[in-house]
């Protein structure tokens, strides 16, 4: 404890010297692994500290010898060089001693690893799927599933608004888990490789398309645990956080019941919503929300796109990009004479549903509902200076699936 206090004081001093007192109000100068909230994470923390201390001791020995030489055996102090330059005994000793130390580290490390690998006899299974750039959680036995998307507003990211305490570590729908239950995660990805990492659980598991990566945890106390994607996955890599809310079993059961009721109501509402004929205003209003949450990251909140990579939504803007992107846009009538135009509705629906292969444009069909897709397309065709007046009904999207 004393050591961590000294370390923190040292870090604070370093910061004060380098930066003055200003500008670092938000920083908490965390320097070590979290102790975590699971038995395994405590074991990992202990392993980590054990290895650090072994390194510190060896370091003191080796660096000590170097510094003694540097200080004492200087030519300027009249040191005369000894002529010894080999000793088989010494070489054997400093081969065998490190080996023994390594065995001493490998034994506890193997024990923890074996415990971590035992994914049998779980109480609850959660399927985690990485998307560019959000997480999808599925509780197969409860019939609950939802996407979990960053909820930090764009204004905060672009420094137009003060940043929240949980900047970039907050989501719309957190993963909810019960404590004191063995939870098995099946981790995979839909598009590129991601990594699901929650430091408090000491779990980092790559989410790989075509693979089902199995890990487990057992949380000790209720709380909110935060993490984020750890594998570079494209533009939004920094913007796909993980928030886990751990509840007591009773609270978790309550949450499951609420979700089930909500899902049932939502399914009925969705069917009704798809069947209903929406007005343009309703679609545009809903479409703006969908656009800001899902499309604005690449196509920008103003629909201006990013030159060379992400096409503008605003018609009339010049655009050129990679061959795969240009071919798709030209063939489907979204690009004429190097400028973006509003192509046919049919192709607009197809592009949003299926994505553009070989580019970062994902297939939104599996991620968004018919209402979402209909409304976002209607919005795109009537915002950012586009005045097509087109209205796309959810039923049309349903038919196009």
């Amino acid at each position: 404890m004393l050591i961590s206090k000294i370390k923190n004081a040292g870090a604070g001093l370093l910061a004060a010297v380098l930066l003055g007192a200003s500008g670092t109000a938000n920083a908490d100068w965390g320097m070590n692994l979290p102790k975590g909230a699971t038995v395994i994470s405590h074991d990992v923390y202990d392993l980590h500290m054990m290895v650090i201390w072994i390194c510190v001791v060896i370091g003191i020995g080796v660096f000590g010898a170097i510094f003694i030489s540097v200080l004492m055996h200087r030519k300027s102090k009249g040191a005369v060089a000894a002529q010894f330059h080999e000793s088989t005994t010494v070489e054997i000793i400093w081969t065998i001693v490190p080996f023994v130390i390594l065995v001493g580290m490998a034994i506890p490390a193997s024990k923890v690893l074996i415990a971590e690998s035992d994914t049998a006899n779980s109480d609850l299974t959660v399927k985690v799927t990485g998307y560019q750039w959000k997480w999808h959680y599925d509780y197969p036995s409860e019939g609950i599933s939802f996407f979990s998307t960053l909820s930090t507003p764009t204004d905060e990211i672009y420094n137009d608004a003060p940043k929240d305490k949980h900047y970039l570590r907050e989501v719309d729908h957190p993963l909810v888990l019960p404590i004191h239950k063995k939870i098995r995660f099946l981790i995979t990805a839909n598009d590129v490789i991601h990594a699901w990492w929650v430091p408090a659980f000491a779990i980092q598991a790559d989410a790989i398309p075509g693979y089902e990566h199995v890990v487990w945890t057992e949380i000790e106390k209720p709380g909110i645990y935060r993490g984020q994607c750890a594998m570079i996955c494209g533009r939004g890599h920094a913007f796909m956080p993980i928030v886990v809310v751990a509840k007591t079993d009773a609270d978790f059961k309550k949450w499951v019941a609420e979700q089930k009721a909500g899902t049932a109501t939502a399914a009925v509402a969705e069917t009704a919503a798809v069947a209903k004929t929406w007005t343009k205003d309703e679609l545009v209003a809903k479409g703006k929300q969908v656009y800001d949450a899902n499309c604005a990251a690449c196509h920008q909140p103003t629909g201006s796109g990013v030159p060379g990579t992400f096409p503008p939504i605003a018609a009339g803007k010049p655009f050129s990009a990679s061959a795969a992107m240009m071919q798709h846009l030209t063939e489907r009538g979204f690009l004429k004479d190097g400028k973006i135009v509003m192509g046919p509705v049919k192709h607009h629906i197809e592009t949003v549903l299926k994505g553009i292969p070989g580019t970062a444009m994902p297939a939104w069909g599996p991620q968004l509902s018919d209402v979402d897709i209909a409304s976002v397309i209607t919005y795109e065709r009537n915002a950012f200076g586009n005045h097509t007046g087109d209205v796309v009904q959810p039923s049309e999207v349903k038919a196009a699936r």
Binding site: V62, R74, A81, H85, V90, M105, A106, L113, R235, S322
Partner: protein, 526 residues
Amino acid sequence: MSTAITHDEAHHEDHRPSGILRWVTTTNHKDIGTLYLVFSLIMLFVGGIMALMIRAELFEPGLQFMDPVFFNSLVTMHGLVMIFGAIMPGFVGLANWQIPMMVGAPDMALPRMNNWSFWLLPFAFALLLSTFFMKGGAPAGGWTMYPPLILQTGDAFPFLVFAVHLMGISSVMGAINIIATILNMRAPTMSLMKMPMFVWTWLITAFLLIAVMPVLAGAVTMLLTDKYFGTSFFNAAGGGDPVLFQHIFWFFGHPEVYIMILPAFGIISEIIPTFSRKPLFGYSSMVYATASIAFLSFIVWGHHMFTVGMPLAGLLFFMYSTMLIAVPTGVKVFNWTATMWRGSLSFETPMLFAVAFVVLFTIGGFSGLMLAIVPADFQYHNTYFVVAHFHYVLVTGAMFAIVAAVYYWLPKWTGRMYDETLGKWHFWLSTIFVNVLYFPMHFLGLAGMPRRIPDYALQFTGFNQVATIGAFGFGFSQLLFVYIVYKAAHSGEKATDRVWEGAHGLEWTLPSPAPYHSFSTAPTVE
């Protein structure tokens, strides 16, 4: 001895074109060595500017200067440029200059191939750097080029692949040349176990290069056919396997790490005895340790993939084999320490960088040992802890060794001394700032900051600001290095032939500057 003869011949055998054509057509090991080193220095600054742009964006949370896609391109290109453009050519340049002089040969064994292996590089990097101006931007999937993400690259993709092919061809030819020179052109009295450590480490490195560069070429070619010719090597939907790429890549990638550090071990093993005025402690155990490290480098690649979901047996195997590397590496560090022990030490700039190398590389070794512990690696993996680790071994390791080597041998190359006071300034500025830059990254990683992100949660602000200040200090300090080298080459004091009081080895028996054709008759090694 041969000195007089070489000196004589240097005068009447020196018919070479002048001006730019001299450099384009040269087959001389010294000219080609200079070309490699100058190229390496330029790439160090190109990659360094990218690093400073990255650090500028990370000075504060929020997006300040660039779109995340461009940030990802910088991260990717910084890695490729520093590894293939700065560190590797730096070592090849040193090999070209030094190996013929150290083994008592007139030149490299295959001089025309030597010319070609250098001149491929500017073209490879022109292809690679031109991708910044292409539709869809430069590659942005990380230097490791993992599919499927890297397959989302725009028009830059084939340029990336062909640039990697060219770099690979260049490296393999360079390696063949080095092996041929060492095995065939040594002075007859120089047995293998009398070779200088720098020559030994490069011999082993060259075998590593020949073994693994074709593997990388194969991996990127499979990416190319996946993207353009409808194959599915790495496409799960087509029956392929994205993890297969990682296995192939790291089968190249781990020996690659040692390609970038073994010659550094050689350099340090030359410099420390010179300035300790004492022979290298445990020469033969150093040779065996180098060979052991090279062998182990082929069986530890899985430690880059601990989080992919390997079976338990795989995790245990790669954990144990990785930990084992600490043994021969430790032997090396202990031997350097024992060489200094009870020596008669002086601290000219090469020695300062060499001692800093031993200390800071060892810190990188400690974090490497920590990363080998699989359960703990799940917490360190893909975080700034890893970034700190590999920059300690590659910057304060490989790069410091190259800088030390340049100070050490520059008087032999130019016949002139560098400015010792400025050299010491360069050392202290570099060493202080490099630690301000990288040490806080350990803390960032442990506290939970992933690598390769353009924006971060607020709790990481403090150490990121410290690191950015260190980065700019370290970056600008390197301008001093350029000035020192330039000044030494143009107006330094005349150097003696032996240059350093404690120097041993054939290169110091030649005049300073060394004659154009190093040894035309084989010298005798005692």
